[in-house]
């Protein structure tokens, strides 16, 4: 019998699949079992990086499905400021699998957080689970609660009626309520709404078992609500802005991304309707030597985003991966991190606020 490796395609071998490839034609993906077209409804959620996917879907004329739509007659600037169309519903960034699970549990009636709203000194009310959805908070508790009711209704409608749901896993580190385990997108009181209180909030870094278990539970809930739902998982390549673990942020990032990558893999193995898109590998592969990161070694460059999106559409829609895009000309690192003002990122806001609040 011949060695089984002889039957494998070129993509299985590092030399042919990576070492002999140029950065611009390296594609860490095999043909996908899922294809969608402009007629399918595509929804998305996840970390800041996930916003690139929603934008790319809209820009390329796909049916980016939004169930919590902006009222007519508002400007694009207002839409963005109030979180309309950033994702398929106004849930803001969802960084952890526990956050996704609790959103589904809240939408489908199983969970009601004990500590969700916070009122600032001006009487404005903030939803701590989506702290940037109204820039100045809600005018009253009544408005905040009424809006939440409609939001969760929109999430239910989204899950029940979308064809594809794309979720980008972002973090394992999170802050939870000591009252009932509610997980927040950011640490309350750190750069966004809320007031930090160590008697109320605790840091938690999800284990691989927790991350995988919560994701599986979320997928079960979503699939129960919509049995024909197809799910695409991706892992954000963006490193942690900061870690609360008593170790180097680089180690913390490796841990976090490893856990998320394992969780995604577990789901693909476990569920026939779950697929993986290798955005993490597209951006971080060693052949690139960090070329898709800006000078801060954290922000993904527009070329990196373009390359990831090019491959995403090539594998899931059949669009040509050879289409000329900026990724074909990978430049040296730009002199300064490229800021994209259209990406709403709680983590970045937290970091900015933290820097601003440090004593000089």
């Amino acid at each position: 019998m011949s060695c089984p490796y002889h039957t494998l395609p070129a993509s299985s071998f590092w030399r042919q699949a990576v070492a002999d490839r140029t950065t611009s034609d390296l594609d860490p993906h095999l043909p996908s079992g899922l294809q969608f077209g402009p007629e399918q409804r595509i929804a998305s959620a996840g970390s800041c990086f996930a916003q690139h996917i929603s934008r790319a879907l809209k820009e390329r004329g796909f049916n980016y499905y939004v169930t919590e739509t902006a009222p007519s007659y508002v400007t694009p600037e207002q839409e963005e400021r109030f979180g309309y169309g950033v994702f398929s519903a106004r849930y803001g960034n969802i960084y952890t699998t526990l956050q996704l699970l609790q959103l589904m549990q809240r939408a489908f009636g199983g969970f009601q957080p004990a500590d969700q709203f916070w009122t600032d000194g001006d009487g404005r009310v903030f939803d701590l689970l989506r702290p940037r959805i109204t820039p100045k908070g809600f005018a009253s508790s009544f408005e905040a609660e009424a809006d939440l009711k409609q939001h969760l209704k929109a999430v239910r409608q989204l899950i029940e009626t979308t064809d594809v749901f794309i979720f980008t896993l972002g973090l394992t580190e999170c802050w939870v309520s000591k009252l009932d385990g509610t997980v927040y997108p950011t640490c309350p009181g750190c750069g966004s709404a809320g007031e930090f209180d160590e008697t109320k909030y605790a840091f938690h870094n999800l284990s691989v078992t927790e991350t995988t278990g919560y994701l599986a539970e979320a997928i079960n809930l979503m699939t129960a609500a919509n049995p024909r739902l197809q799910i695409i998982l991706t892992v954000s390549p963006v490193p942690l802005a900061a870690t609360m673990e008593p170790r180097h942020v680089l180690q913390a990032t490796t841990y976090s991304k490893s856990v998320l990558r394992v969780a995604a893999e577990e789901m693909v193995r476990r569920y026939a309707n779950v697929h993986y898109f290798a955005s993490y590998e597209v951006i971080t592969n060693p052949k690139n030597a960090g070329a898709f990161f800006a000078e801060d070694a954290r922000s993904v460059t527009p070329e990196g985003v373009a390359r990831a999106m090019q491959l995403f559409f090539a594998h899931f829609t059949g669009a040509s991966a050879d289409a000329a895009v900026p990724s074909a000309r990978v430049p040296k690192r730009p002199a300064a991190p490229v800021e994209d003002p259209k990406i709403v990122c709680d983590e970045d806001e937290f970091y900015r606020a933290l820097a601003a609040s440090r004593p000089k």
Binding site: P71, S72, Y73, T134, K136, S140, F142, E143, D147, Q150
Partner: protein, 297 residues
């Protein structure tokens, strides 16, 4: 036999089509029995946004034309404050009030019914920041801050115009609140080409009035508001629904009586001392416009 003409208290009512129900309105006010007469000017399509241009400091030309026609403004100045001999003679001849004239603006309903209501249409509702008996429908909500921004964008130029009027000496300017909207859904659809539930429309008018009232009060002016008299169960009483947009003359009369009540109550606050002085000198047989004799002989 000679007929003794009684003095008449004129009220100058100018604005969009909501000024029309006041046309030719004359009645005796209940406190002094004096006649009140409405002088009206309908400016088709005028909105709060185009009433005044803060960038240029110019009012809607039809508004200024009306003030000039009524003799309230001449050469770009309020005539009731003028010490000019011509202005004074005219004022004396026509019995013009010594106090600032009573002016009421009926502007803003087009703003509400037009661009602001389009935020909501039949698809959305909102929660206002003030108490209301009207329900929140099971519809997606437009954040109050977006409604607030939309109203503010229309009201800001209007409020700047009011401020300009006050600075020019028109201290008895009243602003009619937007009247409660019609319950006739079909009529609204006919006018707007889209539907918007009456509770949402009514809340929106309440919200506009809430902000309008605050701005008007901040300028020491008064918003004429008879909401409670015009509504039942939070909505417009059918007898005050003239045509799906306007109140009938009896509704307008209610509002105008509200203005008169306030004007009579606050008469002492708007004394025009320079003009009183001129009248006083004339009553004493002096010619106030004659140059004072020099004491130096």
């Amino acid at each position: 036999m000679d007929t003794e003409f009684e003095t008449v208290l004129p009220v100058y009512i100018v604005g969009d089509s909501h000024s029309l129900p006041y046309k030719n309105m004359v009645f005796r006010e209940k406190w002094t029995g004096a006649f009140v007469m409405a002088h009206t000017k309908y400016i088709p399509g005028i909105t709060a946004k185009d009433f005044y241009n803060p960038a240029t400091g110019e009012f809607h030309p039809d508004f200024i034309a009306f003030l000039e026609y009524e003799g309230l403004v001449r050469n770009g100045r309020a005539t009731h404050l003028s010490m000019d001999e011509v202005d004074f003679s005219i004022a004396k001849a026509v019995g013009q009030a010594v106090r600032p004239p009573l002016i009421m603006l009926t502007i803003g309903e087009i703003d509400v019914r037009g661009p602001i209501m389009q935020l909501l249409k039949d698809s959305h509702d909102f929660v206002p920041p003030f108490p209301t008996t009207l329900p929140v429908l099971d519809k997606p909500l437009v954040p109050w801050d977006l409604i607030d921004e939309a109203i503010e964008a229309r009201l800001r130029p209007f409020a700047a115009g009011l401020e300009h009027l006050v600075r020019a000496g028109f201290k008895r300017v009243y602003v009619q609140s937007i009247v409660p909207p019609s319950r006739q859904e079909a009529r609204v659809k006919e006018l707007q080409s889209y539907e918007c539930p009456v509770t949402v429309r009514t809340k929106l008018v309440q919200a506009y009035n809430w902000k309008l009232g605050a701005k008007v009060r901040s300028l020491n002016l008064v918003m004429v508001d008879r909401w409670n008299d015009l509504t039942a169960d939070g909505l417009l009483r059918p007898e005050f629904d003239f045509d799906g947009v306007h109140v009938p003359p009896k509704g307008a009369r209610l509002l105008l009586e509200g203005l008169i009540d306030d004007a009579i109550d606050s008469r002492g606050l708007v004394a025009n001392h320079p003009r009183y002085e001129l009248y006083y000198q004339m009553a004493c047989g002096l010619n106030p416009f004659q140059a004072a004799k020099s004491n130096a002989t």
